[in-house]
């Protein structure tokens, strides 16, 4: 056991801190509004220019070959500095690990540099109106077009975060209508400017436009990596379920929600308590519970990374990870609202905004009910039925 950082890591931290303190923009409007998105895009390009867009990626793809440990350090410094939400996150943190694992060289070479440079902006197309928790209930279909050497996609995707502002979508389509629920799905990459795509944004509870529905009507996508600029297939045809499960594991685990994010929220909560908590022992207890939770998540993550860097995989334990951070995020923000008391309903308070977003945590990335089933069945080994 060694909970210290190496000199090299400390140097990396110092470098990140200096650069972030000098460059992080403050007070951007939400990236889930059209106006805010444009400003966030500028920031993403600034990050990329300085090599911070995806630190753990190879240099060739726009990263800086940082270790997973250094990635954690970067994230901690990023949130410590009050860095804005990453509007590129669905690409960099969710799709990219899948492309690294399942993509061809041509796909990696084409998509990853454009992704880190925020030229291509990816949204996810998992959910459909009748396939939410029941992801295998997907009905959007991919029909083979042998003559054209590709597929024709039709159907409707929904809940695609920032879908109205993105340029590309990744998602599952039913390529074999006869196969059982989990089979016969293929993982497609789709440019949203392709003919036949319509995107409609709609409002989120926290007041941002945020979500979109994406309608596909006979949209052509070429085979595999034949022409990445027009999209393609990631992993094998009819192999989409396995490929998607790799993405959802990333989504639940630490790559989506690094501990630095919650540590930073916990620090701000402590500041709020000092400013307005009035030395109330009940509020203090609530703040401390959340603060300990953020510490626990940080340490748990260090254990995860130790395991991953030793060649292990967290597997179904990523569901524990997701349950914990989603509930921690609510606890952190609810404590803040309890400190704010009657002022909690005042909308320009960042904790109120954050609370509303936190409430979506137990829903997205697989509802917490599904995650608890997974923990029971795959971590504890309880019978499925």
């Amino acid at each position: 056991m060694d909970l210290t950082w190496s000199e090299r890591e400390e140097a990396f931290r110092a470098e990140c801190r200096t650069w972030l303190e000098a460059n992080v923009p403050h007070g951007l409007p939400s990236g889930d509004t059209r106006e805010g998105f444009t400003l966030h895009l500028e920031w993403e390009r600034t990050l990329h220019a300085a090599g911070y867009a995806a630190v753990s990626w190879p240099k060739a793809y726009g990263g800086r070959d940082a270790s997973l440990w250094e990635w954690l350090i970067f994230e901690e410094e990023y949130y410590r500095a009050g860095g804005p939400q990453r509007v590129t996150q669905n690409g960099i943190f969710l799709l990219a690990p899948t492309i690294f694992e399942f993509g061809t060289d041509a796909q990696r070479d084409y998509y990853l540099p454009r992704m880190s440079a925020a030229e291509d902006l990816w949204c996810q197309g998992w959910s459909e109106p009748n396939a939410g928790s029941d992801l295998a209930g997907i009905t959007s279909r991919a029909v083979r077009d042998e003559a054209a050497g590709g597929w024709r996609l039709s159907g409707q995707k929904t809940w695609t975060t920032r879908g109205a502002f993105c340029t590309h979508l990744f998602g599952l389509f039913r390529s074999d209508g006869d196969a059982e629920r989990h089979r016969g799905l293929t993982y497609f990459l789709v440019p949203l400017d392709a003919e036949g795509v319509t995107v409609r944004g709609f409002g989120r509870l926290d007041g941002d436009e945020g979500f979109a529905e994406v309608f596909l009507d006979d949209v052509f996508v070429p085979d595999g990596d034949a022409d990445p600029a027009r999209g393609g297939v990631l992993g094998g045809v009819d192999q989409g379920w396995g490929v998607a499960m790799a993405t959802t594991t990333s989504e639940r685990g630490l790559t989506l929600r690094s501990p630095g994010r919650f540590r930073a929220t916990a620090s701000r909560l402590v500041e709020l308590y000092r400013a307005r908590g009035g030395d109330d022992p009940l509020l203090a207890d609530e703040v401390v519970r959340a603060w300990i939770g953020a510490e626990a998540y940080d340490l748990y993550t260090l254990g995860d990374v130790t395991q991953i860097t030793s060649g292990g995989s967290p597997g179904a334990r990523s569901s524990l990870n997701k349950l914990f951070w989603s509930e921690l995020d609510i606890a952190l923000h609810r404590a803040a609202l309890n400190i704010l008391g009657p002022d909690a309903e005042i909308d320009d308070d960042p904790f109120m905004k954050g609370y509303q977003f936190a409430l979506s945590g137990p829903i997205y990335a697989g509802t917490n009910e599904i995650q608890r089933n997974i923990v029971a069945e795959r971590v504890l080994g309880l019978p499925r039925k």
């Binding site: 009748n130 209930g137 509870l205 909690a344 005042i346 829903i363 509802t367």
Partner: protein
């Protein structure tokens, strides 16, 4: 002993529900978000005409001369409908304050106009630090250290605030108490006003929770995943059973608080605090369960749920949050004798 509303009380509540079902569906509540002052005069007039606004005012000036027990069910109906009008503040706090402390000439005439729906009076408690619908009010009932003051809206400075619930138009009020503005000196009138505000918020929260639960029950019965309605999953059942449990054991405390106020029970303040503590917690439990059972759809503004959820968030922490009221109960129960 009889712990139930009378047939008359239930019939009145039903009539209010019918009015609000017709005149205040979610579309109307949403419209308040976008209207200039968040008010709906037509609806307010209808409520005044029904007698709801002046329920506690004497019949001699156009009121119904009824009691807090009659009113508490109506306020729950207002919560159920998501009514954005300042009914709780006006009917449950301002009207009895003007009724009981009407010595100042101003307040008699004002009370008649309030009861008729021609004027409204905003409420500013020190615990809240802001006032609902102050900009559209004719006067303000404001709590200061020395008691309750009645102040013309023209004599204060208002700073509007952005609110999570767009139908709640809140303002900070800057003003100076004076002998002329003092309506009722000493602590008892202010304590009564705070207790009344707490019970009114508790009643609204019960109605809001009832509505959120109803919306969730309807959704999980219709929405299918894995080939069955999601309401058939045990986790969903248990979320909504927990919500029901929290709510059904909060309501009796709220009804009792109104009864104790009506009867002048010496424990009326204690009962008000128990009611507000439990109703605030119940609304939180119900809101979280309802949102979670909706999944992503509940997280959109297209779904009505958020209208009620945001109102509940606001009321949970107005007129004292659950912790503050439990502190008050502790002072009475643990440190007595």
């Amino acid at each position: 002993m009889r712990f139930a509303f009378s047939d008359d009380q239930l019939a009145f509540a039903d009539a209010v529900r019918e009015l609000l079902t017709n005149e205040c569906p979610p579309e109307v509540v949403r419209a308040a978000w976008d209207s200039p002052d968040g008010r709906n005069r037509r609806l307010w007039t209808q409520l005044a005409e029904m007698g709801v606004v002046g329920m506690l005012a004497p019949e001699s000036i156009g009121g119904l001369g009824l009691s807090d027990i009659d009113l508490v069910r109506i306020l729950a109906e207002a919560g159920f409908a998501g009514l954005a009008e300042p009914l709780a503040d006006v009917a449950a706090v301002v009207v009895p304050a003007l009724r009981d402390h009407g010595a100042a000439g101003l307040s008699d005439e004002l009370l008649a106009r309030v009861v008729a729906g021609e004027a409204t009076v905003g409420l500013g408690l020190r615990s809240d630090g802001s006032t609902l619908h102050a900009e559209s009010a004719d006067a303000l009932l404001l709590e200061a250290e020395d008691g309750l003051h009645l102040v013309a809206t023209t004599d204060v400075e208002l700073s509007p605030l952005n609110t999570v619930d767009g139908a709640r138009r809140l303002s900070r009020v800057v003003w100076s108490p004076s002998e002329e503005t003092l309506l009722a000196g000493g602590p008892s009138a202010a304590v009564e006003a705070r207790d009344r505000a707490a019970v009114a918020a508790a009643a609204e929260l019960c109605g809001l929770a009832d509505r959120m639960l109803a919306i969730a029950v309807e959704y999980v019965t219709e929405r299918k995943q894995f080939g069955v309605p999601i309401g058939s999953f045990q986790a969903v059942k248990h979320h909504l059973a927990n919500a029901t449990l929290a709510l059904e054991f909060a309501k009796p405390l709220v009804w009792r608080a109104a009864y104790s106020r009506t009867m002048g029970d010496p424990d009326a303040s204690l009962h008000a605090s128990m009611a507000k503590a439990q109703a605030s917690d119940a609304a939180e439990v119900v809101g979280v369960a309802a949102l979670q059972c909706h999944g992503a759809i509940g997280y959109t503004v297209e779904c009505d749920l958020h209208v009620f959820l945001k109102r509940a968030w606001a009321l949970q922490r107005r007129a004292g949050d659950a912790a503050a009221h439990r502190r008050r109960v502790a002072a009475a129960v643990l440190h007595a004798n």
